[in-house]
């Protein structure tokens, strides 16, 4: 019996070692979220949906303001994973550390992240489909809980995804202008760098599809008190770490039209949130020819410009505050 137990123990040890070795292969190349959920606590955060995920580059905001440490980190996800609500609030609470201090946070707001839709994305349905739902661990590397939950396919799948993204990044410059697909990976600062075709026809097609989808959303959505209350809670939570700024990111003009028709009194609805924050920057009416990959998300060159503008705006606010 002792020989059997010894060999079984040895065998189990091999199983554990293989798992452990493989688990370190998982990195920010494997999907759009893992990188954010496996890099420790962060106390200066960018919060929001995919617009912020692809639109705000924390390292650029920091460098424009002139901040070295603690670094701003993009902890935005997507409309289906991070509308303002309990699931996102809990994830933010776990991401920040009570032992460290933050500097400032940026919250991206728009009509959709404070809405609910009975058919397409009711509060319960959306919260349960969130990548953050019932995820206790949002910091450790490797994040076994996330990997176990999202990757039932074994490590081979993860290794191949990593290799595929690495290869695509390596060859990104060689990609044809007409490249119709897209690929993405999480930067060290949490920003999602998306390589997508900028071919006019491809962008026009994607934009038209996106506009149709959002028009459908607009037709069946309403402002959610639940989401609004969690936006206020998130602002209060982050204010314990430092200043909190609200921004509304630029979108395609037709998308903006849909939003204005859907929620013409957005600024009024946001009054309480704005007054609770350290400032609100509405970038939807900026006179700049931004590029979008699909009418909803900023293209990476435009994200840099937007991030720089946000940095300058915060710097100005800080100067004014110091002056006062």
């Amino acid at each position: 019996m002792s020989k059997f137990l010894k060999n079984t123990f040895l065998f189990s040890l091999i199983v554990l070692i293989i798992h452990l070795l493989f688990s370190f292969c998982a990195n920010s190349y494997i999907d759009d979220y893992y990188g954010k959920l496996s890099n420790g606590h962060k106390n200066s955060l960018v919060i929001g949906t995919s617009r912020a995920l692809q639109g705000i580059v924390p390292s650029i905001v920091d460098s424009t303001i002139g901040i070295q440490e603690p670094k701003l980190y993009n902890f935005a996800f997507t409309l289906s994973s991070s509308p303002f609500g309990k699931v996102y609030y809990d994830a933010i609470a776990k991401k920040i550390s009570s032992e460290q201090a933050g500097k400032y946070s940026i919250i991206s707001i728009d009509p959709w992240s404070i809405s609910e839709n009975q058919f397409l994305y009711s509060i319960e349905k959306l919260d349960h489909s969130s990548v953050l739902f019932q995820l206790d661990n949002v910091t450790s590397h490797p994040n076994f809980e996330y990997l176990y939950d999202k990757y039932p396919d074994g490590w081979g799948n993860i290794i191949m995804k990593r290799a595929e993204t690495s290869l695509l990044i390596k060859n990104a410059k060689k990609l044809n202008k007409n490249f119709a697909g897209s690929f993405s990976f999480i930067n060290q600062d949490g920003y999602l760098k998306v390589y997508a075709s900028l071919d006019e026809n491809v962008v026009a097609k994607k934009t038209s599809e996106k506009l149709k989808l959002y028009q459908e959303l607009a037709d069946s959505s309403k402002v959610s008190e639940h989401r609004m209350s969690f936006l206020l809670k998130i602002i209060s939570l982050l204010k314990k770490q430092g200043d909190v700024y609200l921004v509304r990111l630029p979108v395609h003009e037709e998308m903006l039209q849909i939003e204005q028709n859907y929620m013409p009194d957005f600024d009024i609805i946001m009054t309480e949130a704005i007054s609770l924050s350290n400032g609100f920057y509405d970038m939807t009416n900026l006179d700049h020819n931004f590029k979008f990959t699909d009418g909803n998300h900023l293209e990476k060159s435009s994200s840099k410009i937007v991030s720089m503008k946000i940095g300058k705006w915060i710097k100005t606010l800080n100067k004014q505050a110091a002056f006062n």
């Binding site: 019996m1 059997f4 060999n7 079984t8 065998f11 798992h19 039932p152 396919d153 074994g154 799948n157």
Partner: protein, 482 residues
């Protein structure tokens, strides 16, 4: 509780330790532990299912004792039929009631008579076909005086509910398993380590081959109208390996687990895809069910004795019943009938026992004749599986029509994810090679005759494949539905 789950990975070591270290002093305690563990294992799905097992256990245990005391042939027959009625009655209600009702309604509608009987909204209890047949074998053997009924209720309950083989077999014979519950078990290192190897190989077959093949088989069988003949055949091939690895993988884990507790279960698969004719295939596929039907249905009917028409009748009965055992659908019945058609010429020409020995024994490769025979038999089996897997008869004939059309000679569509399809095909090749090398052994990874370093290299390699390519999500075994 699934074998391929974290729950089972925790459950098994706990039961193992309790069995060999806490209850090893008393046979009764060990058997009690097995009953408790088995009920926990089965109740993990739905504790209400336990009532059915308990009912079967009490009925057959009591009838066994009555059969021993009773001398009157009439009363003995009444007891036997009571057991058959209870076991098959449960099976009939849960598994076949809706099928019969739906078909009666359809048949009467065809002749213009309309009547309505509502179907029952029943969940089929996991493994009911397996344990019902196992307990039936006990009563029939006691009735035929091949077995003395046990007076030990705990041992009998352990025999009915023994968790390694409870939900998907092998369907054990009381004559083999009950004596093992009644005698002391000693831990044997060679048996236990062989059991671990068999578990490892079963796990490889299930989570690596079966679950990866399932992805592509499902893609094709869910929408067969989208694919040409060659791709549909590829789908049938994927299903062929899926069902083999799913079911024989389960049997390997079951037999291996039983060995850890000092039990020897019967062999259920003997490398069936290396068979040289359909008769050999049926001697190597789901052996515990085939021999059950042989002993309790085919031989009592007269077997291969008697007139030609009687032989034909018996073969059809056994294959149709076998098909129907798998499920209440016309697809399974046709699958059984097709196998009967393939088997019958061999029986009538007395060629059904030509290939008893392991193919190419003491040779590395088969000769041309054997290779051709294997290829033909395998192709027939693949076609037969289409009946088994297709959603309904419409899909079945659509797939068969397309396979036997010119589109069979086109290049198959690439299924997604492409890279997964490529490595799955590679892993199937690996499986075939390993099983071919060990085709004269008990199971595919029976490598006890290798040196220790080689054994550990093989364990690590198989483990690596499992961890790298295995699917660890919720994935039930196909045969649970039967």
């Amino acid at each position: 509780m699934l074998f391929n789950s974290i729950d089972f990975a925790i459950f098994l070591p706990i039961v193992f330790v309790a069995y060999w270290f806490l209850t090893n002093k008393s046979l009764r305690s060990q058997n009690l532990l097995i009953v408790a563990a088995s009920y926990l294992f089965y109740g993990w799905w739905d504790w209400t299912f336990l009532l059915l097992i308990l009912l079967s256990t009490v009925v057959d245990f009591t009838i066994g004792l009555k059969l021993k005391k009773e001398k009157s042939p009439l009363y003995r027959r009444v007891y036997l039929w009571t057991s058959i009625a209870v076991n098959l009655g449960l099976l009939g209600v849960f598994k076949y009631y809706n099928f019969f009702i739906d078909n009666f309604i359809q048949a009467f509608t065809l002749i213009g008579v309309e009547f309505s009987v509502s179907s029952l909204d029943l969940i089929l209890p996991v493994g009911i076909s397996f344990y019902s047949f196992q307990t039936l074998s006990y009563t029939i053997d006691v009735y035929n005086k091949k077995l003395n009924p046990t007076t030990d209720f705990v041992s009998f309950a352990a025999f009915v509910s023994f968790f390694p083989q409870l939900v998907a077999g092998p369907i054990e014979r009381a004559t083999n398993l009950i004596p093992q519950f009644l005698s002391n078990r000693k831990f044997s290192y060679p048996e236990a380590s062989s059991g671990m190897r068999q578990i490892l190989w079963g796990l490889f077959k299930k989570v690596v081959i079966a679950d990866n093949c399932a992805l592509f088989a499902n893609q094709i069988f869910d929408n067969p109208e989208l694919y040409d003949g060659s791709t549909l055949f590829l789908g049938a091939l994927f299903f062929t390996f899926q069902i083999y690895c799913d079911f024989s993988g389960y049997s390997d884990i079951a037999i291996g687990t039983a060995r850890l507790f000092g039990f020897n279960l019967m062999k259920n698969f003997a490398f069936p895809y290396f068979s040289r004719d359909i008769a050999e295939f049926w001697r190597r596929w789901h052996i515990s069910l085939s021999t059950w039907f042989r002993d309790y249905v085919y031989i009592p009917l007269g077997g291969s004795q008697g007139s030609k028409s009687k032989k034909i009748r018996n073969i059809f009965i056994i294959f149709l019943v076998s098909g129907f055992w798998h499920g209440a659908s016309w697809n399974f019945i046709l699958w059984g009938a097709l196998n009967a058609f393939l088997f019958l010429p061999l029986l009538l020409m007395k060629q059904n026992r030509n290939n008893i020995e392991v193919v190419a024994l003491n040779r590395v490769l088969p000769n041309y004749r054997e290779f051709f025979q294997i290829l033909v038999t395998f192709s027939l089996v693949v076609i037969a599986w289409i009946f088994f897997r297709a959603k309904d008869l419409n899909d079945t004939f659509l797939i068969i029509n397309n396979i036997f059309s010119s589109s069979f000679f086109t290049i198959p569509s690439i299924l997604t994810p492409k890279i997964k399809m490529i490595y799955t095909l590679g892993l199937i090749c690996f499986l075939i090679i390993v099983e071919w090398i060990h085709r004269d052994k008990e199971f595919g990874l029976e490598i006890r005759h290798y040196s220790k370093p080689i054994r550990w290299i093989v364990y690590t390699a198989v483990l690596l494949l499992i961890i790298t390519f295995g699917y660890f999500g919720e994935s039930e075994f196909i045969y649970f539905q039967f």
